[in-house]
């Protein structure tokens, strides 16, 4: 789940007003506002591949998102994030040249216990500076790319390469999928509020990763696991929704778990999750089955205090763990700031994953 990119873009596009609106409840309403002329997700619509790997110009927002938990040849643990985000200013945004009304934004980060480096890129669509092609799969913005290593038809997202660079970091990783795609929610239709906000949402949580990472001038070979998310919508947030806490976890058992918590300015939390078996079959988790509670906060930039230790429970699965971050200062100081970094879990289950928190 990655709608914060939408907020970041809005921040950028609306200029100075953004900083204010971000601190006020209801800024989610901007993204979730009525979207006349844009398509809306409908339950029961089957996802079609490879078409759905590509862009959906009928929808307002969309993202391609990857997080990886890595182990370096130097024995250190690392985390890597790569996001490409599309935002349409008008319906039917895909046009020729500068008339195109899509804005693309990339975020990338590399994290170790001691360091967290990030970068942001923004581009207009239509001229070839940024974009996504469904098959052969290719997502790019400037020199950052997330693309197939296998040009054969039907290769889908099985063998990919991803790279990005920013100040004091860069990475180039090869990804190989060990399992199938996992459809989130109801066969890819994912509700985001009781008011009907929803998105299309699928994941590929089974990537094996090999590659090289350079952080603060130190280069190392890395390997590990990665999780890819794909989501598109026109109104992913409810008007009152203020931010969220999102977890993607690789369990030692080979199972995968996605959990999230939407915080509203007033009113109850909206909880949701998905338990993904090693064969890719996923089981939605109801809100009464889940508990997501913060334990401890870490001061970040500008007086913000995001929680960096959590207690997560899924009663039906006997899942009860505490999370701890690899680097509690995994703050993304991008146009719209948020926290995103690798975590470990201990308790009833062992594992690793990623945590994203917005709206703090």
């Amino acid at each position: 789940m990655n709608a914060r990119a939408a907020l970041a873009l809005l921040a950028l596009l609306c200029g100075g007003t953004l900083a204010q609106s971000a601190s006020e409840p209801g800024f989610g309403g901007l993204v979730g506002a009525e979207a006349p002329g844009f398509a809306l997700p409908k339950p029961g619509t089957p996802l079609v591949f490879p078409k759905d790997h590509g862009a959906h110009p009928d929808f307002r927002i969309e993202w391609w998102y990857l997080t990886a938990n890595l182990k370096g040849a130097d024995g250190e643990e690392y985390g890597v994030q790569w996001t490409l985000f599309r935002y349409a200013l008008e319906p039917n945004a895909a046009r020729i040249g500068w008339d195109d009304r899509n804005i693309w934004m990339g975020h990338a980060a590399a994290t170790s216990m001691a360091s967290h480096r990030f970068a942001q890129k923004i581009a207009r669509g239509g001229v070839g500076q940024a974009g996504v092609e469904a098959a052969p799969f290719r997502a790019f913005i400037d020199d950052w790319a997330f693309e197939t290593r296998d040009e054969a038809p039907g290769a889908g997202l099985k063998r990919l390469h991803i790279r990005a660079r920013g100040a004091n970091f860069s990475y180039a990783l090869d990804l190989d999928a060990d399992g199938p795609l996992a459809l989130q929610g109801e066969n890819g239709f994912s509700r985001k509020s009781d008011e009907g906000q929803a998105s299309y949402y699928y994941s590929q949580p089974f990537f094996r990763v090999e590659g090289a990472l350079s952080l603060d001038g130190r280069e190392t070979k890395v390997s590990g696991r990665a999780w890819m998310d794909r989501e598109w919508s026109s109104q992913p947030l409810g008007p009152d929704q203020k931010g969220w806490d999102w977890f993607s976890l690789h369990l030692a058992s080979g199972e995968k778990l996605m959990l999230y918590r939407m915080r509203a300015a007033k009113g109850p939390l909206f909880l949701f999750g998905n338990w993904i078996a090693p064969d890719g079959s996923s089981a939605p988790l109801g809100r009464n089955d889940i508990s997501i509670e913060p334990l401890e906060t870490t001061p970040a930039a500008a007086g913000r205090e995001p929680p960096t230790r959590w207690r997560l429970k899924v009663e039906s699965r006997g899942f009860d763990v505490k999370t701890r971050p690899l680097n509690p200062r995994s703050w993304m100081g991008t146009d719209t700031p948020y926290w995103e970094g690798p975590i470990r879990i201990d308790g009833s289950h062992e594992g690793e994953g990623y945590l994203e928190m917005t709206g703090y």
């Binding site: 609306c14 200029g15 200013l89 001229v127 500076q129 660079r165």
Partner: protein, 823 residues
């Protein structure tokens, strides 16, 4: 030195000014005027420079560099994408010009998302919803000043001369004056340059090294530094240097006044200084008191001068803005911005001037022997020493001028020659006048006549500085006036030849142009249809226009050439040949027969030079090639510019018919007379500022003369009284005084003539060539000399009128007082 001593010393010193109000007025006036003229010119220059910087800084902060097409012109957008995909942080831009009604404006297309944060325009990200900039109808940002000038309200959507509609206008402070800032895509559409860019802005925190650039884009793009890129600043540099030179001349004249006034004040205060010293005031205390006095003057007169300079600049700004726009397409806001830098520069100049002017007095005060007897006008007794010193300095200045003359042909050297000659001649003036007076004394027999000349020598040092100022002002008037008149003459004649066709028009698009051309060729009224397509290129980094020519007597019989091969026209139309403008020839050091590689939209076009033509007033270089070659070599040639040969009596009818028939398909149509008027207007306005400065300088020197005479009048009484006592009537004496002053002025005017001619020659043959790249024929205007002579005498007469009238009406008792007290 106690504070009390200092205070009393200061008060004693200041009491002098209370008793000598004319002297005080001279100091204040001189310093004020000098500062005003200097800071006024500085304000004009600062205003213009700032707007060039603004114009250049749309894209970038102070130090950003740019990528432009190696061969000039536009380059495909794919290069931008290629660089971005290789990780280079560059932002695309496209510039061009559009016309809205009668206003020529610079259109700037930017891409706000990639624009470096240091770019002033990037601030719109904070203030405006930038999505509005490139979505929906978009936005066209203009400076509020420009919006006012266009007479349009925010939200208006005017049409360009191509009939394309602008996005709604919006006022934005950061927008450079005279420019419209739109999205890159909008700019491409408005200019008809889809997929093309004129430059890439390189983010200053992520520089590109040339090796990497070559790896990505081959040799298509070239990296230019921030300084190199400011084309306007480069084109207008000489214009401003000229202005500065005149500002400095004006300052110099003002400085002479102050120097004279301080000299007189020092002399008049000698007895007071001695008394103070005798009373035990140390030399140091005296100096400190005098310095405080000086600071006081500087603040009052300098402050007033800076304010006066501001008023002057404000009055001259519209003319300067118009001429800069006409000549260079530079847009200068017409409301003058107050700027601490020129305010400060004015005050610094004022204090430096005051200190320098008072320097000799101060140093003499330090060396003042305490016990020597009070001897008024003591330093005038050192008359010979004074003349010798003048002579030495004059020789030095003239030697300097000579050295500069042989040193080089740069603009600075040319100005140095003129400055040296002016100062040298000014210093020589008292010597020449003293010589003339000595000669007069020797030649005359009658005692009164002999006294007339002898006393003139006594009066000379007191007046010499004012006379020197007058000389410089007169010479500058003759020099600059001659240059301007000469230019006017040449320019008008040249325009007549150059504008041989009767009608000039510009079609809205090449398709419209073809339609109009087809129609025109079928008309019996129209004798010839001459395409004058143009393209742009760059030679040696200099912007150059390429214009096509058709074989027709319009050119072969009329087009003015400075130098040409015998079969110039045949060669031009049949071979790979080119005519180049005088400016270009000088700048690139090219001569007839030389080969020139001209960057085109494809391969370079190698042509040999068959003619050099004058191109007065054009800051850009110009090339003329055969129309066929232009059309073939330059894919981006305008294709819309034409001129028509029509029988003069049919001109109006044809123009009306064309406007009726083609309406908006014609972007602009002008007849010969209108074009000539436009050109001469630009010319007139260009020299309006120079002429104004010249007149001001002349007025200042007149004031200097007046002030000196007024100050001298009291002392003169001591000299005149004995002659009166010996029987000469007061009116006789007054007439003699008047005659003497007029004689001095006539002497200055006589010396000013050769000096002015020399200056005019150096302006035409040195400064103009170095500054603008063209050499005008040297003309002389005797009527103008007569005028200047009369001005000189008139000024002297007016200046001397009041002091001599006072002498004529002085009560005998006043004159008798001379004998009753110490005087």
């Amino acid at each position: 030195m106690t504070r009390q001593t200092l205070l009393w010393t200061l008060l004693a010193l200041l009491s002098h000014w209370r008793r000598h109000k004319a002297n005080l007025a001279t100091v204040i006036l001189g310093l004020g005027i000098a500062t005003a003229l200097w800071s006024g010119v500085q304000a004009l220059n600062a205003q213009a420079r700032r707007s060039y910087d603004d114009a250049a800084a749309i894209f970038s902060g102070e130090n950003a560099s740019m990528l432009v097409a190696s061969r000039g012109g536009l380059f495909p957008q794919e290069l931008f994408v290629k660089l971005r995909r290789a990780g280079a942080n560059v932002s695309p831009a496209l510039e061009g010009s559009i016309r809205i009604d009668d206003h020529q404006l610079r259109l700037v297309g930017v891409e706000p998302l990639t624009l470096p944060r240091s770019a002033p325009m990037a601030h719109m990200r904070e203030r405006e919803n930038i999505a509005d900039f490139f979505s929906g109808p978009g936005r066209a940002f203009v400076a509020p000043e420009t919006l006012r000038r266009l007479g349009l309200a925010p939200g208006a959507r005017p049409l360009t001369e191509r009939g394309r509609q602008l996005p709604p206008l919006a006022a934005l402070e950061e927008a450079p004056p005279g420019a419209i800032v739109v999205d890159i895509g909008v700019a491409q559409r408005l200019l008809g340059r889809e997929g093309k860019l004129s430059r890439l802005v390189v983010a200053d925190d992520a520089p590109i090294d040339p090796a990497r650039l070559a790896q990505i884009t081959g040799d298509a793009l070239r990296l230019v530094g921030p300084q190199e890129d400011n084309e306007l600043a480069r084109l207008t540099g000489s214009f401003h240097l000229n202005l500065t030179a005149f500002g400095f001349l004006a300052f110099l004249v003002g400085f002479f006044i102050v120097h004279a006034a301080f000299g007189l004040a020092f002399e008049q205060r000698l007895p007071l200084l001695r008394t103070l010293r005798a009373l035990g005031v140390s030399a140091r205390a005296l100096i400190v008191a005098m310095l405080i006095e000086l600071v006081f003057f500087t603040l009052i007169a300098g402050g007033a001068g800076v304010f006066g300079g501001y008023l002057m600049a404000r009055a001259l700004l519209p003319n300067m803005a118009a001429s800069l726009e006409g000549l260079y397409g530079a847009h200068i806001p017409e409301s003058l911005a107050l700027d601490a830098s020129w305010l400060l520069s004015g005050l610094v100049m004022a204090s430096a001037g005051a200190l320098l002017a008072a320097g000799s007095g101060l140093s003499k005060t330090l060396r003042l022997p305490v016990l020597s007897v009070a001897r008024p006008i003591a330093w005038r007794e050192a008359h010979h020493r004074y003349l010798r010193r003048q002579g030495i300095f004059a020789s030095l200045a003239l030697l300097g001028a000579g050295a500069a003359f042989f040193l080089g042909e740069s603009l600075a050297a040319s100005f140095a020659v003129i400055a040296g000659a002016l100062i040298g001649a000014a210093l020589l003036l008292p010597l020449a006048l003293a010589g003339a007076l000595t000669l007069g004394e020797r030649l005359s027999r009658r005692p009164l006549a002999r006294w007339f000349f002898a006393d003139g020598r006594q009066e000379l040092p007191g007046l010499s500085l004012a006379l020197m100022a007058l000389l410089m002002a007169l010479a500058a008037n003759i020099g600059v006036g001659g240059m301007v008149e000469g230019f006017r003459l040449t320019f008008t004649g040249w325009l007549d030849e150059r504008l041989a066709a009767e009608i000039y028009y510009e079609a809205t698009s090449p398709a419209d142009a073809r339609e109009i051309e087809d129609w025109a060729r079928a008309q019996t009224d129209i004798a010839a249809v001459l395409p004058v397509w143009r393209a742009r290129t760059r030679l040696d980094g200099w912007p150059v226009e390429v214009i096509g020519m058709t074989p027709h007597e319009t050119y072969t019989a009329h087009f003015p050439l400075i130098e040409a091969t015998p079969d110039v026209w045949r060669a031009l139309f049949e071979e790979d040949a080119v005519l180049i403008s005088e400016q270009l020839a000088r700048r690139l050091g090219l001569a007839l027969g030389a080969a020139l590689d001209i960057p085109t939209s494809g391969e370079n076009f190698r042509a040999h030079i068959v003619g050099i033509f004058p191109d007065y007033g054009n800051p850009r270089g110009q090339l003329r090639i055969a129309h066929q070659r232009l059309a073939a070599k330059f894919a981006d040639a305008s294709g819309v510019h034409y001129s028509l040969r029509v029988a003069p009596e049919a001109t109006a009818r044809v123009m009306e018919e064309m406007q009726r028939r083609f309406g908006a398909k014609i972007a602009r149509i002008l007849d010969q007379a209108e074009i000539k008027k436009l050109s001469t207007d630009i010319f007139e306005r260009t020299f309006a500022v120079t002429a104004a400065l010249n007149t001001l300088t002349l007025i200042v020197s007149g004031i200097a003369l007046f002030a000196s005479l007024l100050t001298l009048a009291d002392m003169r009484r001591a000299r005149v009284a004995p002659v009166w006592a010996l029987g000469a009537t007061r009116s006789r004496l007054a007439t003699l005084e008047l005659a003497r002053v007029m004689m001095f002025a006539a002497g200055a005017a006589l010396l000013a003539l050769p000096l002015g001619l020399f200056m005019s020659w150096r302006l035409v043959a040195g400064v103009n060539v170095a500054a603008f790249g063209w050499r005008l024929p040297f003309h002389m205007f005797p009527a103008q000399w007569g005028e200047v002579f009369i001005i000189a005498l008139g000024a002297a007469f007016l200046a001397a009128l009041l002091p001599t009238a006072r002498l004529a009406r002085a009560a005998p008792s006043e004159l008798l007082k001379v004998f009753s007290n110490e005087r």
